[in-house]
């Protein structure tokens, strides 16, 4: 316990979030927290097994002796920090009991006793007390503690004098981490966080080393001056605001003194979030690739956001990404403003939360929902305004998002904007056009156009966009839209597009289309929404939305405004599709209520002019992010907390995954998203549960074993989850030691259930993320499972049982976790049946994610090992949002009735997501409850409220606008076949669990049949005996056949139950882009790559081979083929493949010498090798997960994996595509 070197600096945005009221809000919860935190201190048991492990540590101990010393000096230097720190850490128990920190510092032993006295313990725990004392004494622990308590004394005195401490103790009581943070003024030791944390989000975790250094120096110097200043200014407000102010003050001052790079970093960061303009095509994967490459090594995982950031330090390499943002002084200024704004929000809302302080825990949850709903704007508006003026002196224009001032004059971005709806990541239909050719003047003529849009005028009477919109109308009257062109399926054999299929563009006028949400984030199965339920029923297509709300974006306007303008009745956020009736009023596009435009909103920060509310960024972008005020918080934003629960039974040690996990974690420890409050902990389990005390100051990690798995408890109330920065050395130590600690274990049992219960107890005070690594069927304690799979049934064509969970233990656990804002992510690495159907529940309902590595072995299965490595890298470094909720609203008349994805539906339309990650996709099904006759447009809005890893509360809002049609033909014209198939896949998963697999398969086939039949009956001029589909749906039968041949739904082919269940989980939780790759992989021929029609990305030539049909007929012995299955790339090499190709690309002299297990392409100089590699890396860069490459020869056992993806071919158990078509045709004509 100690506050040593690791003291993370606190002046973070997170700290800011504490300002004002939220502390009170937290009060009720604190009660709950206390419960968890407290009672557990004494009960430690050290079974005999304990003696086994220490030897491992002893080796390392020498190094550690130094640590305390290092730690001391900064402390002494800095009163502020030290005081809080020590009080909190040295006497945790005291904190819990007596809120007032200032009294006295007890040494740890004392506090422990006190603690025990006050908190009534169960019999078991009191008994444990003595044991605990003894054990700690024996283990070097005590000495460390004592030395701390000594420091503690010193610090405690300073506490009382510190200005900032007003009310502090209270806070600490509830929510310990943040407290520490807000109190501390970072000095030398962790300066970097100061900056980092302020701007949450945008930084993905990887901070570039050199940037970090800059920050260090900068912060340090400026901070010392800033502190006094801020205190003066803000004391009256209360302790809470002090912190943030400091930072703001600091940053302003900084702006002058800071060197160019430092400020640029910040500015850039800000801009990346705030880049309102869509000057740069937000687009496409390929573009992202461009950004990332020059970056200092963020790698694929860093994804969009980081890619914006990377250029910062150098700026020069990336002129493109930040052309407009470069002026450093200005940006620094902006930053300062933003702080100010933020602080204000906090302060202004301070009074509000008081009212809710008396709520009990249960109600808290409710409140949170309410927070989304409740009217935030009105309550906070006036005070904020005042504050704002006072502080900023009218500096508003300079403020943040707005600041992205380089914002395009509306006219400028036009060309790039227009291309957006089309190009989005997909090459347009013309073969020559490649998607990476950036914002180019694409402007493809919209094929899917047709009338039905005239009402638009009435809808938007006041908007001046209108004039231009009418211009576009004339184009729309073509006789028959391309998407309706009938395609004879049985005769037309080449229906696959040459490159990836673009999302259909809603038939809106050009202005609205420009504004519309990107199809990558938000897609509807029917881009022309039928007017009535009857029409929808006739079309026989499902109506639903596919969402990818937290996608990594390269450009996202971030809005810091004291008022978030929302409809007063339905709480819709203002969006580009509302209509302004006049200057002062706007009409909600979801419920049609007329609302007032708040005074503040009249001012347009972009143009710095007054009276142009429709030019505000909120109204110019359909995807925006708001920085939320404290009205949107129930408690102070939580810190990032990560807990790893690792299986260390014999089976796990055999598989050898620990090495990979620990290694990945070590490498990415600094890149974990978070701020200075980030906490981390480890639990391992076999037949017992082992905890690790990583409290800073210990000379080595301390293992605490709990063998009482029937009644699990935490052996010590704190120091199991430790601050990442403070205890970094210990953590590294543990990670280095862990893989070897259990090498000789003979324990074969796995007490997963108790370990999870312990993890839940550990996490419940804060919430966060639990990552569970499991390698076998849990066999002990609560939640134990039995093998349900009958291997003889694997290829059964009739009944597939046990797709549902066997016990409700994991579901209950998940719901408990979800209630405490904790998500459980499952990594299952097993070679045998592990009942994923039951285990998956822990992730499904807690908004976690599931990874499965069948027959994992670190040596025997290198492909899986590599996959785990890559997945982990992405997993650990990707963005994360905590304590999130998502609400989907739609225009009156539509209603959502079913949700798909990993979450818990807390109330009718509120999804509770303990964590949100950029790889999570969702789907919803809708029905039309009231006919939509009186409207020509419908809108859908998702609002995702989350806490960023930097402790900022943010709301990401996507709005999609679609036209309403009243004829069946139009409905078909607007069908989005990919979305339809993905939604059907989700529905089929539900069906197979609730009913049976056979039912689900029938339903899929019927879906195709019914819709084609319905289409054919509308087009009366068609021959009845021919199977015809509209162009928009021509791939429908193919995709459904692909679904039927998926692991999830196939029958007749031997499929392990876990594989099947995993495929189902994937379908439910993957976003559309990934899911489509999984359902229908893309195959390319790569042995004759040519530069024709190649695209240029970052000065690299990327050849664009056409997509091949997934059929063996396309495979030739002379060729080499690449199949892109999303998470894996297969390269199949024909027997007679050109030796030059094998030599150049694979690096082997001939076909025979190519090894069986090859997962990498050598870097050769030859042109063909270069082309191949640039093509593969281009494909890789287009997705967050870096896929594993597998080279397959004919005699390779993995061959079956490859061939099972050739879905147009016939297998023993399933039809070929042509047969499938014939079957459908027969059924229809019957």
């Amino acid at each position: 316990m100690s506050a040593p070197a690791g003291l993370p600096p606190r002046p973070s945005a997170g700290a800011a979030a504490y300002a004002g009221g939220p502390a009170e809000v937290a009060a009720p919860q604190a009660g709950a927290l206390r419960r968890h935190n407290g009672p557990v201190q004494s009960p430690m048991q050290f079974p005999s097994g304990y003696g086994l492990h220490p030897p491992n540590y002893s080796v390392l101990s020498g190094r550690y002796s130094q640590v305390p010393n290092k730690a001391v000096s900064p402390h002494l230097d800095n009163q502020y920090r030290a005081s809080y720190h020590s009080t909190y850490y040295s006497a945790p128990a005291q904190n819990v009991m007596t809120p007032s920190v200032a009294t006295n510092v007890l040494n740890t032993q004392e506090s422990q006793q006190l603690y025990n006295k006050t908190s009534p313990q169960t019999a078991g725990s009191t008994e444990g007390l003595t044991q605990g004392a003894i054990s700690s004494a024996s283990y070097l622990h005590t000495s460390a503690q004592q030395s701390y308590s000594a420091f503690g004394n010193h610090y405690s005195t300073s506490v009382s004098s510190s200005v900032a401490s007003q009310g502090f103790p209270l806070n600490s009581d509830h929510y310990t981490m943040p407290v520490v943070s807000s109190a501390m003024y970072p000095t030398v030791s962790y300066p970097s966080a100061a900056i980092d944390s302020v701007y949450g989000q945008v930084y993905t975790s990887q901070s570039l080393p050199d940037v970090g250094q800059f920050k260090q120096t900068n912060t340090f110097s400026s901070q010392s001056t800033a502190v006094p200043h801020s205190l003066q200014q803000h004391v009256p407000v209360g302790y809470n605001s002090t912190l943030p102010t400091v930072s703001s003050a600091q940053s302003v001052q900084d702006s002058l003194s800071r060197n160019l790079t430092g400020s640029l970093t910040k500015a850039n960061n800000q801009i990346s979030t705030g880049g309102i303009d869509s000057l740069q095509p937000v687009q496409s994967v390929s573009q992202k690739a461009q950004f990332t490459k020059p970056g200092v090594g963020t790698a694929a995982s860093s994804a969009a956001t980081s890619s914006m950031r990377t250029p910062a330090p150098g700026l020069s390499p990336e002129p493109r990404s930040t052309p407009s943002f470069t002026q450093s002084p200005e940006s620094a200024l902006q930053e300062g403003m933003q702080y100010g704004g933020y602080v204000n929000n906090q302060a202004s809302s301070a009074p509000a939360p008081l009212s809710s302080s008396s709520d009990d825990e249960e109600e808290d949850e409710e409140d949170e929902e309410a927070a989304i709903d409740s009217s935030s704007t009105t309550s906070s508006a006036s005070p904020v305004l005042n504050n704002y003026d006072a502080l900023e002196g009218g500096g508003y224009p300079e403020t943040r998002s707005v600041t992205s001032s380089p914002v395009p004059a509306p006219s400028v971005p036009q060309p790039s904007k227009t291309s957006k709806p089309f190009g989005y990541g997909y090459p347009a239909l013309q073969p020559g056009y490649q998607n990476a050719t950036p914002p180019a003047p694409v402007q493809p003529s919209n094929p899917g156009h047709h009338p039905g849009f005239q009402h638009y005028q009435q809808q938007y009477p006041g908007v001046n966009q209108l004039s231009s919109s009418l211009g576009g109308l004339s184009l729309q009257h073509s006789q028959q839209p391309e998407s309706l062109r009938p395609v004879n399926l049985t005769q037309d054999r080449n229906i696959l597009p040459v490159s990836s299929l673009p999302a259909p563009v809603p038939n809106l006028n050009s202005d609205l289309r420009k504004l519309n949400c990107s199809p990558d984030s938000f897609r509807c199965t029917l881009t022309n929404v039928p007017q009535t339920q009857a029409l929808l029923n006739k079309a026989k297509l499902p109506l639903g939305l596919l969402l990818h709300p937290f996608r990594d974006l390269t450009q996202l306007p971030v809005i810091t405004s004291s008022t978030i303008v929302r409809c007063r009745s339905c709480r819709t956020y203002i969006n580009p599709f509302v209509s302004f009736i006049d200057q002062r009023r706007w009409k909600c596009n979801l419920c049609y209520r007329v609302n007032d435009v708040p005074e503040e909103f009249m001012y347009n920060p972009l143009t710095r002019s007054y009276g142009e509310p429709h030019k505000r960024p909120e109204v110019q972008n359909s995807t925006v992010e708001f920085i939320a005020s404290s009205d949107y918080m129930l408690r102070p934003p939580q810190p990032a907390v990560y807990l790893f629960v690792l299986d260390v039974s014999h089976n796990a040690v055999e598989a050898g995954y620990l090495t990979i996990v620990c290694q990945s974690l070590l490498e990415n420890l600094d890149k974990l998203p978070g701020d200075s409050r980030t906490r981390i902990g480890f639990i391992t389990f076999d037949s017992t549960v082992q905890f690790y005390n990583l409290q800073e100051g210990l000379s080595q990690p301390q293992m605490l074993i709990v063998s009482d798995i029937d009644d699990i408890f935490l052996p010590t109330p704190d120091s199991l989850l430790v601050n990442l920065h403070e205890s970094k050395e210990l953590i590294k130590d543990l990670l280095n030691a862990l893989p070897n600690m259990f090498t000789n274990t003979r324990e074969t049992h796995s007490a997963l259930g108790p370990a999870l219960q312990a993890a839940f107890k550990l996490m419940s005070p804060t919430g966060g993320r639990i990552s569970v690594f499991q390698t076998q069927l849990p066999s002990l304690g609560a939640g134990l499972l039995h093998s349900r799979e009958d291997p003889n049934q694997r290829s059964s064509t009739t009944v597939v049982q046990h797709l549902g969970p066997a016990t409700d233990f994991y579901k209950k656990l998940a719901l408990d976790c979800s209630g405490q804002q904790t998500a459980v992510d499952l990594f299952l690495l097993s070679s045998q049946y592990s009942d994923l159907a039951s285990l998956a529940c822990m992730s499904k309902y807690s908004a976690g994610c599931i990874y499965y590595y069948p027959s994992f072995h670190h040596i025997h299965n290198p492909a899986q090992a590599e996959k785990l490595q890559k997945d982990l890298k992405r997993y650990l470094t990707r963005k994360i949002g905590f304590e999130a909720v998502m609400r989907i609203r739609c225009t009156k008349g539509l209603s959502i009735h079913t949700f798909h994805g990993n979450f818990f539906v807390r109330s009718t339309d509120l999804l509770s997501l303990a964590n949100i990650n950029p790889d999570a996709g969702f789907a919803v099904q809708m029905s039309i409850e009231e006919s939509l006759t009186d409207t020509s447009l419908v809108c859908f809005q998702t609002a995702l409220l989350y806490t960023s890893s930097k402790g900022e509360r943010r709301i990401r809002v996507h709005t999609l606008c679609l036209p309403v049609v009243n004829s069946l033909a139009d409905v078909y014209a607007g069908a989005d076949v990919q979305a339809v198939v993905c939604l059907l896949a989700n529905m089929a998963v539900d069906r197979s669990v609730s009913s049976s697999l056979a039912d689900a398969r029938d339903a899929l086939v019927n879906a195709v049949m019914d819709s084609l039949e319905a289409y054919m009956s509308t087009a009366s001029n068609l021959q009845q005996s021919v199977l015809v589909a509209p162009n928009s749906l021509k791939l429908f039968p193919l995709y459904v056949l692909a679904l039927l041949k998926q692991k999830a739904f196939r029958t007749g082919t031997s499929t392990r139950l876990d594989d099947r269940v995993y495929a189902m989980c994937q379908m439910k939780s993957q976003p559309l882009v990934h899911l489509m790759k999984m359902i229908h992989p893309n195959m390319y021929r790569i042995d004759k790559l040519i530069d024709e029609s190649a695209i240029h990305v970052n000065d690299k030539v990327v050849p664009q081979p056409p997509i091949q049909k997934l059929s063996a007929e396309k495979l030739t012995r002379e060729g080499a083929f690449l199949m892109d299955c999303g998470s894996i790339f297969y390269i199949w090499i024909g027997k007679n493949c050109n030796n030059n190709f094998i030599k150049d690309v694979l690096g082997y002299p001939n076909y025979a010498s190519v090894p069986q297990k090859m997962t990498q392409l050598p870097e050769a100089d030859a042109l063909s090798s270069e082309r191949t590699r640039s093509f593969i890396s281009w494909l890789r860069d287009s997705r967050p997960l870096s896929p594993v490459l597998q080279v397959i020869k004919d005699e390779n056992p993995a061959k079956t994996d490859f061939f099972q993806h050739l879905i147009e071919d016939r297998t023993e158990a399933a039809f070929s595509y042509y047969e499938f078509l014939l079957q459908i045709q027969q059924q229809i004509c019957k």
Partner: protein, 139 residues
């Protein structure tokens, strides 16, 4: 004897009516977002078995006392209750599962079911009342 049977049935029926009303109120609370799915379901699941038993007792009682008509009237409802209870998938937390109640219109169907039961129990209530009075007079 006859009257005792009906007095008991009447009391039992009253309890079932209250229960049905409680179900309806709780479900509509959920519909209006006053409570969350988790607490709603745990509240309701507690009463599924008592309801089932309460209704089964009356049904059996009618069979024993040889009131065929009333027995046959009660039989389908009792069977449905038992069927519903048995058919809960092993992974679910009871008849009402918080993770599914908002999906596929389950909430609506639960509501409908509770309404129908309320109507049925009211009908039974008057029948028992009539029979009880008749029995008392006959005694």
């Amino acid at each position: 004897m006859e009257s005792v049977v009906f007095i008991f049935s009447l009391i039992d029926c009253c309890a079932l009516i209250f229960l049905a009303v409680y179900f309806i109120i709780t479900l509509s609370d959920l519909e209006c977002d006053y409570i969350n799915a988790r607490s709603c379901c745990s509240k309701l699941n507690k009463w599924v078995v008592p309801e089932l038993i309460g209704h089964a007792i009356v049904t059996v009682l009618m069979l024993i006392s040889l009131h065929w008509f009333i027995f046959l009237l009660n039989l389908p409802v009792a069977t449905w209750n038992i069927y519903r209870f048995i058919m809960v998938p092993s992974g679910n937390m009871g008849v009402f599962d918080p993770t599914e109640i908002h999906n596929r219109g389950q909430l609506k169907s639960h509501m409908k079911e509770a309404m129908i039961k309320l109507g049925f129990h009211l009908l039974c209530f008057f029948m028992y009342l009539y029979s009880m009075i008749l029995a008392l007079i006959n005694d």
